[in-house]
């Protein structure tokens, strides 16, 4: 049926005049074989062919051909321009401005040469090439009965000759071998995780321990309590971080922000009373939401802002979340002063820093 209609349409189109065709539904069908609804949308056929300006007016045709030629020549100019500017505007070492100029000229000329080819080709196709409509009719996808029978025959023969259906022992072992084949990948990928360590364990601890000095990022110079004046902010790393083998992993967990407020501005809960020193407090810099560094400290409001998702922490209330998507306060690092006046950690953080993970216990906040 579809085939027949296609042929009908093709016949219509081969002529220059297009007449809206009547549908092939209904009229030719034998009575009683199908119920065909009469109000189905009629095939409107193709719209009548419209001549372009370039078909009618020889002047505009010449103009269009001149434009296309000019575009292709412009492309030549672009290509040569790219070569010339490569040498004329070189990249001078230690001069960022030259990088910028070089990129600008190269890019502009290469874009000119490519774009004009494209635009010229399209304009040629649209304005000058023949534009009569033609129809290529699709042939049916289903093969003939003979082809289908022959295909089944080939399969049967292959099964018989190989013995795939008969030799069930071989077949079973092959399927088993294929099923086991991807298994090594699991071990390879598992081995990309930190070696010999439980990731959850690694996430739960940082480099800080009792007596670790607080040092300045990036120099590693220890900080005296007297250096930290009121309103100051220090970006802190643990002493010995630069010698750590996995420096970045350790820094990502151990980064700390040190602030000094007036001691009366701090409102520590009873179990955290001794964690600050004379108004100096240290909090993890890793946001408890998704781990961005929280370091936008406002020294008058004592708010810490995370730049990624606008979580706000109030330092006067033990870094309680006062706005944004973070769900837990920033973990506080208990600090003290050693005999030489340097700030040291009392212990590691009392809970894992940063965002939640599967194995994280939920009872740290109450502990």
């Amino acid at each position: 049926m579809a085939d027949e209609r296609g042929r009908e349409m093709a016949a219509d189109i081969s002529g220059t005049e297009l007449v809206p065709t009547a549908t092939s539904h209904g009229d030719g069908a034998p009575v009683g074989t199908a119920v065909v609804s009469r109000d189905i949308i009629e095939n409107p056929g193709l719209p009548s062919h419209r001549q372009r300006v370039t078909d009618v007016d020889p002047k505009s045709e010449r103009r269009a051909s001149r434009i296309v030629t000019a575009l292709f020549y412009l492309s030549v100019v672009g290509s040569i321009g790219a070569i010339v500017s490569y040498f004329a505007v070189p990249i001078v070492p230690d001069d960022p401005a030259s990088v910028r100029l070089n990129t600008l000229f190269l890019g502009s000329f290469i874009a000119l040469s490519l774009l004009t080819i494209g635009i010229g080709a399209v304009h040629w196709g649209k304005a000058l090439m023949m534009d009569h409509e033609g129809v290529d009719v699709r042939h049916p996808i289903r093969g003939t009965a003979a082809t289908r029978a022959r295909a089944i025959e080939i399969f049967d023969q292959a099964n018989k000759e190989s013995g795939f259906g008969r030799r069930s022992l071989i077949r079973g072992s092959l399927i088993g071998a294929l099923a086991i084949f991807p298994l090594p990948a699991i071990f390879f990928f598992r081995d990309l995780a930190p070696i010999g360590n439980n990731p959850a364990e690694l996430l739960s601890h940082t480099m800080w321990k009792e007596g670790t000095r607080l040092t300045r990022d990036p120099t590693g110079i220890p900080i005296k309590a007297s250096d930290v004046t009121i309103g100051s902010v220090f970006h802190v790393i643990p002493e010995g971080l630069e010698d750590a083998e996995d420096l970045l992993e350790q820094k990502a967990k151990a980064a700390v922000l040190l602030m000094r407020l007036k001691p009366e501005d701090l409102n520590p809960s009873p179990e955290k009373v001794g964690w600050a020193y004379d108004g100096i407090v240290a909090y993890s810099k890793i946001c408890t939401h998704v781990g961005c560094p929280v370091a936008l400290y406002e020294q008058q409001t004592h708010h810490l802002l995370c730049p990624c998702h606008q979580s706000q922490f109030d330092i006067t209330q033990e870094a309680k979340v006062i706005f944004g998507p973070a769900n837990r306060p920033l973990p506080q690092l208990p600090i003290a002063v050693d005999s030489e006046g340097y700030l040291v950690a009392q212990s590691d953080f009392h809970e894992p820093v940063g965002p939640s993970f599967w194995e994280r216990r939920s009872d740290y906040d109450n502990a």
Partner: protein, 271 residues
Amino acid sequence: MSSAAQKKSRRRSTRTGRRHPLATVALIAIGLLFTGGAYALFNSTSSGTEAVAASQDQVDRGSKLFSANCATCHGMNLQGTSAGPSLLGVGAAAVDFQVGTGRMPLQNTGPQAPEKPAQFTTEDTAALAAYVASIAPGPGLPEAEYLDGGGDATHGAELFRINCAMCHNVAGAGGALTEGKYAPSLTGVSAKHIYEAMVTGPQNMPVFNDANLTPEDKRDIITSLKYLEDNPSPGGIELGNLGPVAEGLFLWIFGLGTIVALTVWLTARSN
């Protein structure tokens, strides 16, 4: 320049082993002329960067200016009122920053005092600074040697990324804080004001004292900011240096716009 000339003439005289009786006098005269000239030139082009010892006249003048312009909010004795903080111990640096950048006197209350054209002349600003510094000691005006932008830009940029970039943006373009406050753009801010801001921590900016960032560190940071300002970005148009938001918006509008326009043209029939 003067010292070079002195050295040169001295070397010549020692070589010949003879010296004109008036050579010393001439040398001193030339030296004085040069220093005086250089000082006058320096003073006229960038007056105020010199840390001049405050004279009593200056303090008296500052006192009058303070009573007339600042005391309403900051109190007659700098003790502060409900409308403004105490200025005891803020130092000359804080006054020079706040008044020199036009942030003070405050035009109207808001989340933050914005930068505006300076309301006082440089002499009046210096007098105010001298007066406030004379009441209680605090951070003084920065030494000119730390403001020359001749430090290590690479080290300065590293310190800037660690200590400043989270608020001021990695290229110093500024950024938003909470509740209408913001970290201002650092482009076009004078080296002196950048230095003073680090030392004093104006408004909600934290203090970066000399134990945290040494004067040399501050010089390096200023150098790196000046480098960014003086050198065009190798990556092309900066779009305000605001990063992925501005760049993404630009691409969405102009990049996708061009693609849409080309697609429409491609599929439209020729007339």
